[in-house]
Amino acid sequence: MDLAKALKAIRRSIWVYHLNSGSCNACDIEVLDALTPYFDVERFGIKLVGSPRHADVVLFTGPVTRESLPKVVRALKAMPRPRLLLVLGSCGVGGGIWWDTYATIGGFSKLEEILREQGVEVDRVVYVPGCPVRPEAIIYGILVLLGLAEQKVREVEVHAPGG
């Protein structure tokens, strides 16, 4: 699929679906905060929807508990393409403080492998770290995801002195 063309249409109308994979709920409160009239995200065309079938962007929180894993995969499978994911919080990004516990799979990096195995393609992912994430960062993340704002953080290779 032509992602650039698909993103162009979504840029003016961004429907988000909130998917909690077992977070402590602090990130979720920040998601709700970002959707309140105070931030007025409707001015960017952002709207919260109740079904993954309607979603353009999934706001993904939590380290993916074993209990939630099948439901998370099903919800992402139900999304029409292009599948855009905004992975929120330290837990979502890499499992956070639960990265190696027996009850979670350890965040989106592990989930990505499972999704690949199941044939669920994800078209673009943007990570928004923080514990919890700030609402401004969530809005900024959506804009980066759709190419409406420049990503400020770059990958930098650091070498030990003399190494």
């Binding site: 109308s13 007025d40 065309g45 079904s51």
Partner: protein, 287 residues
């Protein structure tokens, strides 16, 4: 011929403007919340986006697609008939056009229920039954009041009483709070629309917007005809008055809160039934 062309133009204008009126409603809601809100064309942007997305056929696909196609056709046809009726009929006569309009309106509601059940999802089935309850508690009164207005003749009190019933029923037809229980997004995870994605959801969204347009135009036409206008004048005036009625509908929905799911239909029955009895009594008294 002239009548058909006029009807076509008026209906086309309605179909194009309905999403713009919806955008205006969202802007108005934002203004009341003291926020900027989306652009006026936001509903059109949403529709364009939905039609550009992947087509996912839900379980029970053929039925779902078929009913959705028939539903939108029935709605567009009822808008066209509503525009056609004042041009070709004489006030006080219930012709075949009026009967067809009522039939199409009922069919559109019935198709929403069939679509909901065809989707094979428990939320959509619940939404479908909610739609059914609402239809049962408002559509008979809508048909009664519409017929009363068309065929009621020169009885001012009777006309005003019928107009009141029609105004309430038209608001219910517009599927706004608290009568949006069939697809109540925050509460029933999108209800009747839960399994629809991309272009199919686009058609369903357009059908909701058109239903709102129909409800506003129907009220506008009833007001204009009660004021004594008919034919071309009625068509032009009702089209001009439609955005004003839309704004009133929007204001009511912004000010009303969501109620428990059974309260809406029950309150409707408790209001509309006595009102209809009073209206019939007024007719009997010749007022």
């Amino acid at each position: 011929m002239l009548h058909s062309i006029l009807t076509l133009v008026a209906s086309l204008v309605g179909v194009v403007l309905a999403p713009v009126y919806d955008g205006l409603e969202r802007k108005l809601r934002a203004a009341i919340h003291t926020r900027i809100g989306p652009p006026v064309l936001q509903t059109w942007y949403d529709l364009v986006k939905l039609f550009s997305k992947e087509l996912v056929i839900p379980e029970g696909g053929t039925w779902c697609v078929l009913t959705l196609a028939l539903e939108i056709t029935a709605l567009v046809a009822s808008i066209a008939l509503l525009n056609y009726i004042p041009l070709v009929t004489i006030p006080g006569v219930v012709g075949v056009e009026v009967a067809a309009f009522i039939a199409l309106l009922t069919v559109a509601t019935a198709l929403t229920m069939v679509r909901a059940v065809a989707q094979n999802n428990v939320y959509s089935v619940v939404g479908g039954f909610r739609e059914f309850t609402l239809a049962l508690s408002s559509e008979p009164f809508l048909v009664f009041s519409y017929l009363a207005l068309v065929a009621g003749g020169e009885r001012p009190v009777f006309r005003i009483s019928s107009l009141l019933i029609l105004t309430i029923c038209a608001y219910v037809l517009s599927s706004r709070i608290p009568y949006d229980i069939a697809e109540a997004e925050p509460e029933l995870s999108a209800g009747v629309n839960i399994e629809l994605a991309g272009p199919l959801l686009g058609v369903a969204t357009m059908s909701t917007v058109l239903r709102r347009f129909l409800a506003a135009e129907l009220t506008a036409l009833a007001l204009v005809s009660t004021a004594g206008f008919w034919s071309y004048q009625a068509l032009v005036l009702s089209l001009a008055l439609t955005p004003a009625v839309w704004v009133v509908h929007a204001l009511v929905s912004i000010l009303l809160g969501r109620t428990r799911v059974d309260v809406g239909p029950r309150t409707l029955l408790l209001t509309l039934f006595p009102l209809s009895v009073v209206t019939i009594t007024i007719y009997g008294l010749g007022l």
